[in-house]
């Protein structure tokens, strides 16, 4: 794996400007979807806990 190989990989035969944005957009959307689920769960647990404590 030489530097030229790595450079060729990123160059993607000239299509880099189309391929890499496509992969990055996908990664951003899917990862943010995933992290949103985590944040949602924390938020719900906290909200329900506050509700329980005010009711108690």
């Amino acid at each position: 794996m030489t530097i030229t190989d790595i450079q060729n990989f990123f160059y993607m035969g000239g299509y880099a400007v189309y391929i890499w944005p496509a992969y990055v957009i996908t990664a951003v959307i899917l990862l943010s979807s995933f992290f949103y689920s985590f944040v949602l769960k924390k938020k719900i647990l906290k909200q329900l806990n506050d509700q329980n404590e005010t009711a108690a």
Binding site: F9, M12, G13, G14, Y15, Y18, I19, P21, A22, Y23, I25, T26, I29, L30, S33, F34, S37, F38, L40, K41, I44, L45, L48, N49, Q51, N52
Partner: protein, 254 residues
């Protein structure tokens, strides 16, 4: 099997069962994603016509397939809710909406980026692209309709009916490349014949498809559990869960 599914339809059982099998889907997602991306980006040979540009296929096709599959899952869930009034079915339909919309958006954007070098245009109003765009509008419409109605039952019914009416778009999307003279190519995978794609290119594609499906299942189960916690917040099992977590947090802080 039906009695197992029947016990699962109770929110408490589903919450705990989903929590147990979630890690399996995450592990599968990571494994399939690693194989699919490494093989697809590095090892699969370049296309004789498109060169390396064809590698967008490993994102575009799986997300497009998922956009259709999730809609069909939502249709089945909505039908189960309307016929048998099983609330869990409505929960699954509700949380799958944003995920389906995300995959539709990814399919449209990556397809657009693939179209520019190969077709010379980012967009064209041919049958496949137009019907997929309509699918995006359907997803957004179903999500918006559900959030616009405050009563849970009415919202569920209305969005289910909109979803079922929109289901006619799914066969249109799939068969559009046969029924019309489209710029988008016809089916190579989902046809009633042997796939015409080379095996070297096919296997990472199937892996990415599996990875996206496992990802959907994992995130859907996570969000379904969250939705169940909210809907069942007055029930004793949720109260117990919250107070146990509270006790855990307090004891960790000491």
């Amino acid at each position: 099997m039906w009695s197992f599914l029947h016990t699962l339809s109770a929110p408490k059982n589903f919450y705990h069962w989903a929590g147990k099998i979630l890690p399996i889907f995450w592990i599968l997602t990571i494994l399939l994603l690693s194989y699919g991306l490494i093989d697809g980006l590095f090892i699969a040979p370049a296309d004789y016509q498109q060169g390396d540009g064809f590698r967008i296929i490993y994102i575009h096709v799986p997300s497009a397939v998922m956009s259709l599959m999730i809609y069909m899952i939502m249709v089945v869930a909505a039908a189960i809710y309307l016929i048998w009034r099983i609330k869990l079915a409505d929960v699954i339909a509700k949380v799958s909406g944003p995920l389906g919309a995300s995959f539709t958006l990814i399919a449209l954007l990556t397809g657009s980026l693939w179209g520019k070098p190969m077709w010379g245009t980012y967009w064209i109003w041919d049958a496949r692209l137009t019907s997929e765009l309509i699918l995006l509008f359907l997803y957004v419409g179903v999500i918006a309709l559900r959030s616009a109605i405050p009563e849970l039952d009415k919202a569920a019914k209305s969005s289910s009916i909109l979803l079922l009416v929109g289901a006619v778009d799914i066969p249109i999307i799939h068969y559009s490349v046969n029924w019309w003279n489209t710029l988008h190519q016809s089916a190579t995978l989902l046809q009633f014949a042997k796939p015409t794609i080379a095996p070297d290119m096919l296997y990472p594609l199937l892996a990415m498809l599996g990875a996206f499906f496992c990802y959907y299942l994992a995130v859907m189960l996570m969000r379904a559990r969250c939705e169940l916690l909210v809907r069942e917040r007055k029930s004793s099992w949720v109260k117990k869960l919250i107070s146990y977590r509270n006790w855990e947090i307090k004891n960790d802080n000491n």
